[in-house]
Symmetry: C2
Subunit: 202 residues, 2 copies
């Protein structure tokens, strides 16, 4: 039996991401990915049993990178103030997206391809994911708007993704449309409390 | 020269929409559409010169249907109160999406496929489209948030699209998540004025 090679697994995931960025997730096939990496298709199956497993692999890697950003430790700390946790979640997502301009687009593409699954992420990471708990705590403490979480997540993801895309396309610069401007809009949609001015430069 | 047939043009557009709903816009080819309609590929070219023209045709038809909804007359009336026009735009989009559950998804799919174009709609309908004028008037009068229009449109489209999808998937009903709940969230993101309670039952 062939041995698994972590460098090769990384190359396969990287190649998949590149194809998604260029042609969308619908364009992914194990043949195309194998060609791009320069290995045989049967070699790919050693790492990912099919196209679905490959897309799940990309999705989980992006989510895990997001979870490892500096601000996320504070976001996931149940002893921190809930308002601070919510704001830092917004800020961490924003910073992550600007540093990884294709990440949210790639996640979105994979989710679009899995639209039959009502909650794709829940299926992958289980219903007890830390974000679900943050949202419940935020609503119970009167910070977050009482609305289905998928709608709040849609605002957060889609605005930050669009803003990142606009910056990439040179439609405007961060001097024109700053974190403060974007986060005030998202904060107004997601919460029912005033914008935390004191946290802006934290 | 063959004669154009409006019924056939409609059938071609309908078939394209059906393929987009099932497999996404990336899956569209004139061959597939011809097969679905039951005509030859050369016959399609009589109506649409290529795949791009076909997608533009679908996009413009959906946009035009949206423009013909009852509330849109008021939205586009420059003599109406600007706050009322903004609210009715939100309400018209909401009603349209619930009555045409796949429309926003189809528009989104076509836009995703055209992501190189910074402002796809502007290219198709020209920069002086009535929505651009509504937004400028809304910002100048202090009703709408002063932020790049693409970000406001992203909130409007993505939240209504997600809500429509959630209703379709039976994730919740309109009794659980009402127009009022959804529109309060969108209103908070798009404007800097209180929610117009008096317009809710208009």
């Amino acid at each position: 039996m062939k041995k698994k090679d972590l460098t090769k697994e990384k190359k396969i995931l990287d190649a998949t991401v590149e194809i998604i960025i260029a042609d969308g997730a619908a364009a992914i096939s194990t043949t195309k990915v194998a060609n791009k990496v320069g290995i045989s298709q049967s070699n790919i199956y050693l790492y990912f049993k099919d196209k679905r497993a490959l897309l799940d692999g990309v999705y989980l890697r992006e989510i895990s990178r997001l979870g490892q950003t500096a601000g996320m430790k504070l976001v996931l700390d149940p002893n921190e103030d809930i308002l601070t946790r919510c704001f830092m979640y917004l800020k961490s997502m924003y910073d992550f997206s600007l540093q990884n301009p294709h990440s949210l687009y790639v996640l979105e593409q994979i989710k679009l391809l899995s639209k039959d699954a009502a909650d794709y992420l829940a299926q992958l990471v289980g219903p007890k994911n830390p974000m679900a708990e943050l949202f419940t705590a935020g609503i119970n403490s009167g910070v977050l708007r009482q609305i289905d979480r998928s709608l709040s997540m849609t605002v957060l993801f889609s605005v930050i993704e669009k803003h990142t895309e606009n910056l990439q396309n040179g439609l405007y610069t961060e001097a024109d449309v700053s974190f403060e401007t974007v986060s005030r809009m998202i904060w107004a949609a997601l919460t029912v409390v005033p914008y935390p001015e004191n946290l802006l430069n934290k």
